[in-house]
Amino acid sequence: ACGKGSLASGGKSSDTLNVVFLPSDSAKEETAARKALTTEIHKATGKKVNVQTTTDYNVAIQSIASGKAQIALMGPDGYIQAHKQSHNVQPILTYSGKSGTLKDAYYHSYIMVPKAQAAKYKVNGKYSLKNIKGKRMSFVSNTSTSGFSIPAGAIKKAFNLKSTDDLAQSGKFFSKVMYGQSHQGSAVNLLKGDADVAAFDDMDLTQYGKFQNDSTKAGAIFKINQNAPAPFNSVRGKSSVAIAAYAVQNEPLVVNKSKISDKDTNKIIKQLTSKSVTNNHLFFAPENAKVRGLFTKDGNTKFVAISDKWYQPTHKILGE
């Protein structure tokens, strides 16, 4: 009979807000950044804020969907799954790109092949998914939005499959399926020659290499830097080509509407889109900042209010 951890079952009247973090594709947040978020939400609502980090995808989704947590920061795929579980789960904010608007609040998911093999995947002079059947495929993990859900959704559509299950296992659609467990891992699988085709995104790889041309379209060429650190030290200088590229909406901050009042939600939106947050390096850290921020600052990066509608393209590609 000790300790004072909350057993609060949530609910609108509660004076505590639980925020769930799932370290995912983009948010490599650090303690300081999490704390900053706590402070801002507390400032906005006057409520006690609990931030909890889970490494488990399902735990995060179930928490927000069941209302045990009222606010969550998770990848787009996680949001969509949670939304499917409970329509009370709604996105309220995401972060913008350079422009400071939703126009470029995207990152990209690619289906890549080694540069030397790229020609084989052209059909009528255009890159196509047609030839990937039977190849050795590398994904990130089966919960990654840009490293699995989006590309697999696209392949499913292109080949008219019933579900993505067949894409997830060796010996079905692909001769072999492997998981890099991270975008870096998936890229290394490809460049080392363990996989013929790989899915990964751009934002996790920017510190290891550069895009040589328009990175938003099929045909984008990605080259590893000559001084790339581990795990890329054995594939320095190698290049890959995207045979497909998909824009993915940046990840949202979501709330469970049944457990948090609209008033509070609006206060949070207001607070987080304010100038002080925009300029707070703990939220948006410059590329070379010592203390890691929640996100990387690029031009005018800041929080922008959104609704479920903004994720329509992803809803569609995931077939939900």
Binding site: A1, C2, G3, K4, G5, S6, L7, Y57, N58, I61, Q81, K84, Q85, N142, T143, D165, A168, Q169, S170, V177, M178, Y179, Q181, G185, N189, D194, P231
Partner: protein, 268 residues
């Protein structure tokens, strides 16, 4: 010494005092750990909620029966890999344990080295092994096999060592004094004596490795663990429940057959 003169009250008082102190210390540690973690003991009052949620969500429905073939195949695969990894580990561990046990090993130093090695293999967290192995061996059954092998070697070496040390040293001596050499003593005295517990450890390990199938799934991209992960992560709890049920049935089947084997080889 001064106790002997008394009527025993002092003795019982001291014993009770010690017990009280021990309970007090554990209590303090409990409170301390609860504070560190922010754990509320009252949480145990809500035990039923979890069970109810489990029952509601994980009961396999008719829809999930569509997956049974897939599950069965993966289940068999997992069983085979567990058995193979355990068997190979058992052979390695037996060698190590013979060298490491006090009664059969060459020296205390070797014993500590082997103990340390076994401990190292067991105590590298699963996530750590996953990273190391995946990085070099990629996703395949072999990686899962290796992970289970390493963990099993760590576990079995220690178990075998303790089993060997449980053999009455006089029985070993009884053969030594006939002039039999080391290998003869090991094969004629130690092995027959430990055969029964050895087999039950191996069977237990197989069972345990099946239970760790989630790990194997993560590492291999095949097997029952992967199938579970696949359904679980896509929030298809019905089929995931079916997988759990399949694991339960398999584990219990293995447990029952190991009980059966143990009864048949028991001595009494």
């Amino acid at each position: 010494m001064e106790l002997r003169q008394t009527n025993g009250n002092a003795f019982f008082l001291k014993k009770r005092l010690k017990l009280t102190l021990l309970i007090g210390l554990i209590g303090v540690l409990y409170v301390g750990a609860s504070l560190v973690l922010d754990f509320n003991s009252a949480a145990f009052l809500y035990l039923d909620r979890g069970i109810i949620w489990l029952a509601k969500n994980f009961i396999p429905n008719s829809q999930s029966m569509a997956y049974w073939q897939e599950i069965l195949g993966a289940l068999i695969r997992t069983l085979l890999v567990s058995v193979a990894a355990t068997s190979v580990a058992a052979v390695i561990s037996l060698g190590l344990a013979l060298m490491g046990a006090k009664s059969t090993g060459p020296s205390q130093v070797v014993s500590w080295v082997i103990r340390g090695f076994a401990s190292f293999m067991r105590n590298i967290p699963i996530v750590g092994w996953a990273m190391l192995l995946l990085f070099s061996f990629k996703q395949n059954d072999f990686t899962g096999f290796l992970a289970l092998l390493f963990l099993s070697v760590g576990f079995l070496t220690r178990a075998f060592m303790e089993t060997i040390e449980d053999v009455d040293i006089e029985k070993i001596q009884a053969l030594q004094v006939t002039g039999a050499n080391y290998f003869q003593v090991v094969s004629q005295a130690v092995l027959p004596e430990i055969c029964t517990p050895l087999i039950s450890w191996v069977l237990y390990m197989i069972e345990n490795n099946l239970r760790d199938a989630t790990l194997v799934g993560l590492l291999t991209g095949t097997g029952i663990g992967f199938v579970f992960d696949l359904y679980f992560k896509s929030l298809r709890y019905g089929p995931a429940g079916l997988v759990v049920l399949a694991i339960i049935i398999l584990v219990i089947a293995v447990e029952l057959s190991s009980n059966f084997v143990e009864r048949r080889i028991a001595h009494d």
